[in-house]
Symmetry: C2
Subunit: 161 residues, 2 copies
């Protein structure tokens, strides 16, 4: 044989799944400023402790200049709010509004349905396994220089704030 099929390539699978996921979620999140990325910002903003923009940007893998636009749009829609960090008035703390939390509940529902469609080829056990493995890889990549990780691990354990 001359070469392996491209289907054996991790990059092909990852790219195909990623594109499929984007397509499905852009549809599910129609109307939400920033689409899937706006959803991630909103999710992060809905955390117990308000988070600084830069920390969030790094954690979500978006440039800090892009983060400004994303938050502008979400703030204009009344879903999140910025306020200066008392500990360092250069920084802005981001938190979700009541309206943002309500919108997030709705978005979560749509996202769960979209994800089920994307992972339609897998049975429930396989879906959980895939989520777990992806999360493990992603956490390892994000953790080293991310102070959030510990807090989030802890929050995940007891499921509360």
């Amino acid at each position: 044989m001359r070469a392996e099929a491209v289907e054996a390539d991790l990059g092909w699978a990852l790219g195909t799944v990623f594109r499929g996921y984007l397509r499905a979620t852009e549809e599910a999140l129609a109307g939400l400023p920033g689409g899937p990325r706006g959803y991630q910002v909103l999710t992060s903003a809905a955390r117990c402790e308000p988070t600084r923009q830069l920390v969030m940007a790094q954690h979500l893998g978006v440039d800090r200049t892009v983060m400004t636009y994303l938050i502008d749009d979400l703030e204009n829609a009344g879903l999140v709010e910025r306020r200066p960090d008392p500990a360092d008035r250069r920084a802005r703390l981001l938190s979700a509004t009541e309206r943002g939390l309500a919108r997030l509940v709705e978005a979560n529902r749509a996202m769960r349905a979209a994800e089920d469609r994307v992972l339609g080829a897998l049975d429930p056990r396989e879906r959980d396994r895939l989520r777990e493995l992806l999360r493990k890889v992603a956490m390892a990549d994000a953790a080293p220089d991310n102070p959030c990780a510990v807090v989030q691990e802890a929050a995940a354990l007891d499921g509360t704030c």
Copy 2:
């Protein structure tokens, strides 16, 4: 609690892993025209039967106009070649040159090392499992309208052409 952590989000994990993968492979494939996408085109072109551009473009998830540029660059580097399909002279059949095959062997080595770094948080069994699950989801997404799938499945079975 107010909301789940963003780490529980499939989109966050998928995006983070995908970005990490891109970063690692762009580095590993430095000098290869088209980077990771050029690598996928080259891999597809190295198949037993030459493939039409459009079929390949759809399977790789790139626009046909982008495919033209990608192939132009690979052809200028002497790694692939186009020739008219005798069965339909509008179409071009793409195949790898000897030089392209040699470059692919080298690229495969670099890619395996890069992927091992990206999946560093997983043990060998988990890596195989992740590949398998992603491939399953991707194949389901690509298969319905993709005539390649059957051929490639068959080729994967006996590992030859």
